[in-house]
Amino acid sequence: MFKGGYKGKILFVDLSKKEAKVHELSEEEAYKYIGGSGLGALYLNRLSGPETDPLGSDNPLIFMTGPLTGTKVPLSGRHQVITRSPLTGILGEADAGGYWGAMLKRAGFDGVIVAGASEKPVYLWVHDGSVEIRDASHIWGLDTYEADEAIRKETDSKMVAACIGPAGEKRVLIAGIMHDGRDARAAARCGVGAVMGSKSLKAIAVYGEEPISVADEDGLNKSLKEMGPIIVKEGKGLGKYGTAGAIVTIEKVGDLPVKNWVEGKFEGVEKISGQKMVESILTGRFYCASCLVGCGRKVRVASGRYAPVDGAGPEYESLAMLGALNLVDNLEALAKATELCNRYGLDTISTGAVIGFAIEAFERGLLTEEDTNGVKLKWGDPDIVIRLVEEIGEAKGLGRLLGLGVKRISEKLGGLACELAIHVKGLEFPAHDPRAYNSLGLAYATSNRGACHLQGFTHVFERSLTMPDLGFDEVQDRFGIEGKGELVAKLQDLMCLYDSLKICKFTLFAGVKLRHILQWFNLVTGWGVDLVHFMKTGERIFNLKRMYNVRMGISRKDDTLPPRILTLKRGVGGAADNLPPLNYMLADYYRYRGWDEFGIPTVEKLEELGLTKEFQ
């Protein structure tokens, strides 16, 4: 019996059979895998395998909250989406903020597992402990903002929807799942939207009013009374300027992707900064459930070439990938491109990446005007970016090719095209350059979903943060080599915990220490977990995901970086001549992890982590 943090119920919907069941959540499994990413990976491993077609009815699409989701714990309004990725073929996961996760728990469930596929478009209406499978034929084809409004009229004004746009419907492999309508909180990565589209599932709308219990309410209140003001104070800058507040800094230290990862400086960076957004198009801030920071942007462009724009504004990643990567420095145009991605339901990171790839491929003659319908692709042209976003979102013209992601595009084009494709395991790089932080190179190479800065979040410990609880008393040397294996492994384990508890990693910037996270976890669940046990749980979750990928054929050969990142010195900027020493760091990492030379967890490691049963 759960004392707090969990509803104890998972909703299982089989769209092929048009039936729904409620499964009891095992307390033993919750204790071992926590929730979110951890429990989601456990279920994925049991429900799918190498024979599973990512876009077939046999691929489960799993939405999971964590024990902190929906509680008063600050910045805990998050949930995870897990599936076998159609983009990468391995474990795919994406997480989102907003209100959907908290509302799902108030509706009575810790998670929703969608199996099978419907013959015609449907949406799920989950409310007050029950679910209806409803016809969605009339909203199929609507963008995510329109669909959200339409579903709201048919359900409850306070409902929150997870929704795909036309890109997901058309199974574009870089499609995500959007939440919260115009506020556009995205579970963007790994093509999770295409999986939802393959099931003809337009949306999952949720609403409920059930309380979410906390084991020690008084204890939690006491802790939050102390920490609340600190979070508000320390998170003030992030709230004021958003994630893009640091884009100038990121450019100055050589971390910004410029011209498809070729250049080290971007002159136009101050024109697309968070500070510039405050002075121009910002209309307000968005706070996810339980958030005290409010880094989400609300913007409006009321007139001019790129009007209208009205809703969620671009985050750092969107500005960097749609903007700097393509040498575009027009903020209004980037707000437009971002809104289009949100409406189509596209991952702005991968979308920016495939556009940059296409422009360079065109420049080098790998794509021609025959491929582009007579359009000359060139750097620094905001209209080209917007046009290509539309083509990708609608899966038409060149967009049909670009929607496959850079790995597949480069395989189709052949020749030198693979040299321009910046990805790991098929997932496009996010907007941080491993040549600026050595740990990022190792983290990208070994992240379980492909290139990802969030599954290690290591670079922030090489510039300004420390973590004494894990033995990192000083800021780490970003160009150093020694100790990176341990740094990356420990932080990946820690981030597995954040992704399973479902708490925002930006708490790290707001004065929240690991000891606070652990304290809140224990106060919410009533479990008396110590730090050693806690970190072992993170390690278990990371290894579980790695073993799932091993089942899919992943090994050392895949733990690498693109040749451009390994060998091209950019020559200018804040990390002009650094290259990540991957092989040295990788050997160090495997040794620290207790994996064999092929990057596979040993039998002894699986036993130590209690994972043997899952991989017999």
Binding site: G237, Y241, G245, A246, T249, Q275, R463, T466, P468, E474
Partner: protein, 89 residues
């Protein structure tokens, strides 16, 4: 020694300068420089918090020769960048 201090968003607006030259003692550390800057530009005080627990600066970062400086690092006679801390994204 003489340092060229370069301010970036939003600190350039806060101090009303893009850059300035400053004379500091030859053995000056990052902490010394920050004290000097706060004396010259009191509005910076809100952005300079010293975390005694973890020796880190949260509301601005100081970069010299591509290195993120720690509070006790000795400065070199060169340009110093005053940057917004990387947060999020």
């Amino acid at each position: 020694m003489r340092l060229l201090i370069r301010y970036f968003q939003p600190y350039d607006q806060l101090v009303g300068l893009k850059e300035e030259s400053l004379d500091v003692p030859d053995d000056a550390t990052t902490r010394d420089l920050l004290r000097i800057l706060v004396n010259r530009h009191p509005r910076l005080a809100d952005y300079i918090s010293f975390d005694s627990d973890e020796k880190q600066m949260r509301r601005l970062v100081v970069v010299q020769r591509d290195e993120f400086l720690k509070l006790e690092d000795r400065l070199a006679e060169d340009e110093v960048l005053i940057l917004y801390p990387i947060s999020g994204g």
